[in-house]
């Protein structure tokens, strides 16, 4: 059974209207015979059939408007008995396929579908101009060169008076300002962590970092209603397991307690999505993965919290390697941008020189921060008796817009429970 479809009748034609059938079911037709008249945008046109055969059914009615490729009639190829399905027929007629029924004008036939739009070759380096940075409320005239120089030299362009046309700030204004050491430009927190000043910028770099931390912390305190909860967690079993584990490992493979604590936080977070994500303009978005921002103090001063990505799914050995590498790169100033901006929660003060407890300030736009104090031998009441056990005080600072103290407390209890089964923490997360 051959399908007779409305052919494409000219380069600019999408559809046609059947004016007249020249045949009726059962008529024998020869190749090239006109079997219908179709009205196109230009005029009425005779439509030929391309196969010998006999007309089966006339599907399109007179006056029917249809897109190119619509099946108008069926045809039994020469020698094909009525009722047989297309294909089995002895006839070798090639079933006319125009796209998948789509109008021919809309797309070329199946063989002719235009190739996927691949990258066009560039003849000249076309660098689309980056969008100008967010303009302040009332747009000041600032030349692109002035903006560029200010950005490169940390000059606060808003504090300058322009000497260019119409009071525009021009390059010379920025150059003189930079020379006189004008105040460093305030930067939104994300920007500061994204752009770690490289070593050779020295003093201005430290100043710039201090400025950035100040801005971030001020914003955090201004916008985020913190609540705090804390829990003392016995680590006897954890440290014993760690010591046993390290005794079988080469020095280079040795695990630090910090890794255990980090993994516990990541695993515990799975049950508390409201602590793991970001809050922009009051709208909270939970993150699928837990990227732990690890607060690392830089030797020459300053603090940075690059993220251990997807910490919840990694075995301790991997986490240890990643942590070591992260600290090294943080101090060398060669962090990846994703590590700087993708943290979903921050964990701080894992150092053994810190205080017994630390209550941190949340790092916007995150919504929680876990603090671990120094691991200390403390008296611990158990089964009516007193023992001396290594204990760590874990604290949680969280954004009350997004979660409540009750949930924060449950999270810390979960954390404590997980640390009682260190061997469980070493497996790959299922």
């Amino acid at each position: 059974m051959i399908e007779f479809k409305l052919p494409a009748l000219g380069a600019d034609m999408d559809e046609g209207t059947l004016l007249e059938w020249r045949v009726k079911p059962g008529d024998a037709v020869k190749k090239g015979q006109v079997i219908a008249v179709v009205d196109t945008a230009k005029a009425a046109v005779d439509v030929e059939c391309w196969q010998d055969g006999t007309i089966g059914e006339l599907l399109a009615e007179v006056g029917q408007k249809m897109p190119v490729g619509t099946v108008m009639a069926t045809l039994r190829a020469a020698g094909e008995k009525a009722g047989e399905k297309a294909g089995e027929a002895a006839g070798k007629a090639v079933a006319a396929k125009v796209g998948d029924g789509g109008t021919a004008a809309a797309k070329v036939g199946p063989g002719g579908t235009a190739a996927a739009p691949a990258k066009l070759p560039q003849t000249e380096p076309q660098t689309a101009p980056q969008a100008a940075p967010a303009a302040p409320a009332q747009r000041r005239l600032i030349s692109p060169a002035a903006r560029k120089h200010a950005a490169e030299n940390g000059v606060d362009i808003d504090s300058l008076t322009g000497t260019g046309p119409h009071g525009a700030v021009i390059l010379a204004d920025v150059e003189t300002a930079a020379a006189q050491g004008a105040p460093a430009a305030p930067r939104p927190p994300a920007a500061v962590t994204a752009e770690l000043p490289s070593a050779e910028k020295g003093a201005t770099r430290i100043a710039a970092m201090r400025q950035a931390i100040a801005t971030a912390m001020a914003r955090s305190k201004r916008e985020i209603p913190h609540y705090y909860v804390s829990e003392d967690i016995p680590l006897a079993r954890a440290l014993a397991w760690l010591q046993a584990e390290n005794s079988q490992r080469a020095m280079a493979e040795r695990l630090l307690p910090a890794v255990l604590l980090l993994k516990a936080v990541a695993v515990a977070l799975r049950g508390y999505p409201e602590l793991n994500g970001w809050c922009h303009d009051g709208a909270f978005v939970t993150a699928e993965r837990s990227n732990l921002g690890v607060a690392i103090s830089l030797r020459q001063g300053g603090l940075i919290a690059p993220a251990l990505l997807d910490a919840g799914t990694k075995p301790l050995t991997t986490l240890m390697q990643e942590l070591t590498d992260l600290v090294q790169r943080a101090r060398a100033g060669s962090l990846h941008s994703s590590e700087l901006t993708d943290g979903t929660i921050t964990v701080t003060n894992l150092g053994d020189q810190g205080t017994q407890a630390v209550f941190g300030v949340i790092y916007p736009p995150q919504v929680a921060l876990v603090g671990f104090g120094r691991i200390v031998e403390r008296p611990w009441a158990e089964d009516g008796g007193i023992k001396v056990l290594p204990v760590v005080t874990a604290s949680l600072a969280a954004d009350h817009r997004v979660s409540d103290g009750h949930r924060g407390a449950l999270f810390l209890r979960e954390l404590a429970e997980l640390l009682q089964h260190p061997e469980e923490l070493d497996k790959e997360a299922s």
Binding site: N246, S247, M251, L256, R299, Q300, G351, Q353
Partner: protein, 81 residues
């Protein structure tokens, strides 16, 4: 290796971890980690540095013996000979 050689290696390793520290000015008999801010990561890297340079194994259990600079040098001298 003489004691002064080992001491030199120890100070060089410490310098690599904490470049801003004046290692020559450190006193040998006061707790090293009170004079130099070394968190657990720095401490582990310091010991790994010694392990690499002197091919000496330092199990966690021995950490307690390594409080002052002199302790470290003596401990290593014993291990190296």
């Amino acid at each position: 290796m003489t004691q002064t050689d080992i001491r030199a290696v120890v100070l060089a390793t410490l310098k690599s971890i904490a470049p801003e520290v004046e290692v020559d000015a450190l006193s040998g008999d006061r707790p090293l980690r009170n004079q130099v801010d070394l968190d657990s990561m720095d401490w582990l890297n310091f010991l790994l540095g010694l392990n690499k340079r002197l091919k000496v194994e330092i199990p966690e259990a021995d950490y307690r013996k390594l409080v002052t600079l002199d302790d470290v040098v003596a401990y290593l001298q014993a291990k190296v000979d």
